[in-house]
């Protein structure tokens, strides 16, 4: 889908997406790192459950919403990847943890 210009593969960082390790370049946004790893869809919509992926890459479309280190609704295109970061597909609408409702 996307490949990286060889001159731009500097300082590597490793993060996981849905548990799978991905190597990115330091300075990548989460959305760019996912695109570079061949991942097109990073969430499903709350309305119909349709898959969506990064669309604008500049923080206005909210299509690249993901869960990052357990926090939902993060804009993947605005968050830089960090070593050990845990990124997950955002499925539908954000579900409150069970204990929050008790």
């Amino acid at each position: 889908m996307f490949r990286r210009a060889p001159d731009r593969m500097r300082d590597q960082v490793t993060f996981t997406f849905d548990g799978n390790p991905i190597v990115a370049a330091a300075g990548d946004s989460v959305a760019a790192a996912l695109l570079a790893a061949g991942i097109q869809a990073c969430r499903t919509t709350p309305v119909s459950g349709a898959p969506r992926g990064p669309y604008c890459m500049m923080g206005v479309c909210f299509e690249c919403l993901v869960r990052i280190d357990g926090v939902g609704n993060r804009q993947g295109c605005l968050v830089p990847v960090r070593e050990g970061m845990k990124v997950e597909t955002q499925k539908g609408s954000y579900a409150l943890p069970a204990e929050a409702g008790q």
Partner: protein, 508 residues
Amino acid sequence: MMVGVESAQIGRIDDLAGDYDVVVIGAGPSGLRAATTASEFGAQVLLVDENQTPGGQIYRSVLRAQEADRRRLGEDYWRGRAIAEAFLRSDAHYSPMTTAWSIVPFHGESGEIIGHEVGISAAGKTRLIRTKQIVLGTGALERPFPVPGWTLPGVMTAGAAQIALKASGLIPEGRVVIAGTGPLLYLLAAQLIDAGATISAVLDTTPKANWRKALRYLPEFLASPYAIKGMKLLCSVLRRTKVVRWVSSLSAEGEGALKEVVWRANGREQRVPADILLLHQGIVPNINFSNALGCEHEWDERQLAFRPRVDKWYRTSVPGIAITGDGAGIQGAEAAALQGALAGLGCAVRLGLIDIESGERRAAPLRSQLRKASRGRAFLEVLYRPAESFRIPQNPNTIVCRCEEISAGQIRSSVDAGAIGPNQMKVFLRTGMGPCQGRLCGLTVTELIANERGVGPNEVGYYRLRFPIKPLRLSELASLPQSEAAKAAVLADLADTHPPKNGRGERL
């Protein structure tokens, strides 16, 4: 390389001052020049920006760029370095990776606006910063391009691909189709081909009739610096990839992801398998802040967008709020930088750091450069005016509001049912009420309603936007220290919606 990028940078928003003379929002060419200029006159300036490094979208990541990036992206991009470096050398504070989400006025004793409080958040922390003057350099975003299938993964904007190239050196791979109209379409095609991408086709949706209408602006365009650049670009793309002209309809097809691009041109339908479709039909002012602030806007029929009314110092109708660059009407990067300098100068005058006469004297050469930089825009605007069929979807199933998944057909039938404006449409269908807050559907909804009612977009108007203009976590909001202005705002709002009642529950 990275040297100097951090020099003026504030690491955490806790370390920012509580009060500034000027807060600039956005680190594109206009915001950078506004902050640098105001700071040169001794103003205490804070610039907040969502990205990691200065440059905005046009000069995205320019301070991290190396010679290889310069070759890929060209000299126009490289010029952003000087603007970003001058800003970092200034005394202005710089808070990157910071989102500004509200601006609330505070008032003097006689009720006049004497400043604003800006709500910002970074790394999960939130603060309210007071300032006397605000310059919005919030720039532009790509015009919505509602065609069937535009929500499929694999379909992105051309701008998105350019940002990925600038910020991470990413080059689209596989079968790539670029579609739409406007100078960026060909610029991106050339940049991607230079970077080694294979472009299956460029589908040009510029209507034939535009050429005739644009002709009268051609002499001015030919005298502008855009002309030679544009011709070179066009030739380099035409030489190296297939360009299909007069494309009159377009759709993306696939189950769960893009598989094929289908188009109609010269009366013939064609389809190609595709892995990536990059869409673009021009850019429009990002008016979310100025709209929520209540600044006066007007419909610009040639740019087919709303833009805030500004004066020669780029002041809006709200005291203390200026807006410069593409956010005040699309003029391009060079003009944006000059407008930013003028707005910064205007702040210095209003802060009493220089007198109005010397302000005017310094503004004169900037204004004449600005006139020069704006030459040739009329031709581009008329030539690259996107066709009505690509702005106002005819296919009832085309999704218009991506967040709430509302189709053109639903919007049209809601107009018949009484939703005669964008704000009624929110109540009927929730259009514009998802996380993007209308950024990706606002213009389409306005134009669809106008089309259905047979009136102009100015009469229909735009969504009334509210703060926070970016979604905020409740915990961030709750952690805010309460200011007098914030309390007053809440109380005033309560008095509006919940008037006091007497003992029998009747309104007083």
